[in-house]
Assembly symmetry: C2
Homo-oligomer: 405 residues x 2
């Protein structure tokens, strides 16, 4: 018999709690696993010994259903980067002490490429020090920028939000009888996956977005203005999707840097709105989809939620089979019918790396997404959750604030 621990990390998505459910359910039915702990605030919970008993937290099928429709991380999150253990092993010793004190034999970390760095370092440390605790990474990120895996849990729901909302913005933009431009800013610092997913609208008969700019394509302000002018010659209301990370002249956007050295970007949409106002002078507005694109569980993709459960359950099987230092990945077998398999790869193939849009997804003019990309995106946004509502509002699963603070 052993106990296990699960933690959630990085930026919120709609599917992180579904992965918690997937790991929990798989562990619950496994006779060799006794207690299932949740580490509060990701790896910080292991360091500071803040763990809660998930069997006390998740007590019914209704709890599970609520978790599946609750965005963000019910156990809290962190942006904590483990030091190199050759330089400083004290944090690692603390983690091992806390894991051993609770007879935890496997740790599952649901997170993005930064969190997979934690999986990589911690599993290496444990192996080198002959500590038999398995460490397995469960991928998640709305950015869809993890290497090896076909896609990441959380991305499909975010894409479904982007496509649905973009279509509603299109309707909103068509009402007046004067020319107008709408710039929609979508998350994605280096990879344009989420912005590119807005091209699904083309498959649904919409001409919008008329221009799509991703960080992988060449971008200049002069070319942008020329593109907008050309679209305005063809239609009254021009709708533009732009990744937050499209490269504009330096120091246009604020330069706050987070713990991982990521530049905190804000304002490409607002910036391009200003460019259009000054250079073209038409009615123009910018819309930032902001955190709604990562937390709108009421629009979650059923495919995404189910896959987030499955990949976490597979992670538990992987640890039980004796693996460690692995990250679970999807491999796509076919687009239609949509089929994926779940496999595992060494964490160092994923940690701290980014996957970018393939060249063939971007059109020749570098200002839109090629139709060739659509079979990749379409299956990921299919299906809806049957939401549990209370008084007209989707319910969420919550634990006492005091547990998280």
């Amino acid at each position: 018999m052993m106990n296990i621990a699960i933690a959630q990390s990085g930026g919120p998505t709609c599917a992180i709690n579904a992965s918690l459910v997937g790991a929990f359910k798989e562990a619950f039915k496994e006779s060799s696993i006794d207690a299932i702990f949740g580490s509060v605030n990701g790896i910080e919970g292991l360091i500071e010994n803040r763990l809660i008993d998930l069997k006390d937290m998740i007590k019914s099928t209704r709890d599970i259903e609520l978790l599946l429709q609750t965005p963000s991380t019910v156990l809290g999150s962190c942006r904590y980067k483990l030091p190199d253990w050759h330089d400083d092993a004290r944090i690692y010793e603390k983690i091992v002490e806390n894991l051993n004190a609770r007879q935890i034999g496997a740790f599952f970390y649901i997170g993005g490429n930064d969190s997979m760095d934690t999986v990589n370092k911690l599993s290496q440390y444990l192996t080198e020090h002959n500590v038999d605790i398995k460490v397995i990474g469960i991928p998640k990120t709305i950015d869809n920028d993890l290497c090896v895996t076909d896609h990441t849990p959380g991305f499909g729901s975010a894409a479904k939000y982007v496509v649905t909302t973009m279509r509603e913005i299109v309707r909103d933009s068509l009402v007046y009888s004067i020319p107008s431009v709408t710039v929609v800013e979508i998350m994605g610092r280096h990879a344009g996956w989420l912005t590119a997913s807005s091209a699904i609208l083309h498959h649904l008969g919409e001409s919008a977005p008329h221009l799509i700019y991703v960080p992988e394509a060449k971008f200049t302000v002069d070319k942008f203005i020329a593109d907008v002018r050309q679209e305005m010659s063809k239609r009254q209301a021009v709708i533009i999707a732009v990744s937050e990370g499209v490269s504009v002249p330096e120091d246009v956007l604020s330069g706050v840097v987070d713990n991982f050295g990521h530049k905190y970007l804000s304002g490409i949409g607002k910036y391009l709105e200003g460019v259009i106002r000054n250079e073209i002078g038409c009615k123009v507005r910018s819309i930032e989809l902001n955190v709604m694109q990562r937390c709108s569980s009421h629009l979650a993709s059923l495919t995404d939620i189910k896959e987030a459960e499955s990949i976490a359950a597979a992670g538990v099987r992987c640890a039980l089979n004796g693996d460690t230092g692995k990250v679970m990945v999807f491999r796509r077998i076919s687009d239609a019918p949509y089929t994926v398999s779940i496999e595992s790869v060494a964490a160092d193939q994923i940690a701290n790396k980014e996957k970018f849009l393939p060249k063939e997804f971007v059109n020749g003019a570098q200002n839109n997404i090629d139709d060739a990309a659509l079979p990749y995106f379409l299956p990921l946004i299919q299906g809806e959750l049957g939401l549990i509502m209370d008084q007209g509002v989707p319910c969420h699963f919550t634990i006492r604030d005091s547990i998280l603070s």
Copy 2:
């Protein structure tokens, strides 16, 4: 036999097309009405003789179902203010000429307080000139600021979006183990109805929003900072709802110039974000719900959509009964069970006027909404549409762009 015309005006909502459906269906089953025209871009369509045959446009129950889940105005909109006809009657003569040419005996205008000015002026002109064409106003606005009526179609769906999204933002805000403030900017230049509706979350067991600022309450930046500090002493993640129209010193929201010398208008949310960063120095972000709060039909309130249909149908009955220059209104009979009647009032009681939050809806400290307000808001967000989906995305009803341009 007579023909009728319907037009849509002002800012988009999720319920304007439902009112089009309500008027269309009522007219369709009425033997004394023959053709049903739609005027493109509101009153501009009547002036410029841009009318389309709605029986050609709406041909099936599926078309009707799609219209009910399509945001914005399928017939386009306008922001056109009729001149005083004593000063300049030419526009009015043009309208009468176009209405008479098509034997239109009644005109229904779906819009907000500006549009009701059009209803008022046009009906007065027609009466004074003995032209027997009825003009009836059908209310709509997410701002809920029309006088006399208990509430306006469009508001309930916007409120449902605000409450649902605010709850998701709460989950998104609770994840990290450091103090943070989230400022959510909600539409409402002069009236705080939509911002106030976020207080429904209190009824659902959420402590957030912890602070709610509406234009009707006194607001000073110093008091705001003190309020935020006090909330931060009680909890890790402070969530604030603020109306775009909360009054701040005049020069702060305009005239901001970016690094390239581009002037851009900053919203109240961004402004307050800056205030908190500078004065308190904690992690802070602002989120503008932007046009999503008025066009997110995927989250429409069924109560709102059904009422938008009913009030427009009642408008058709009102004209058939010989009334003109009237606006249809809801009168609330009881909160629970929720019951409203539909009546009509003279357009001049509504045109160009605004209705504000009652004093008793705002708390004593002027920084939140009193629980006494909740029975008013709650019934308006109840129920959901069963959405028609295509490939994972809600479908919309559209007519050819060329008709609208």
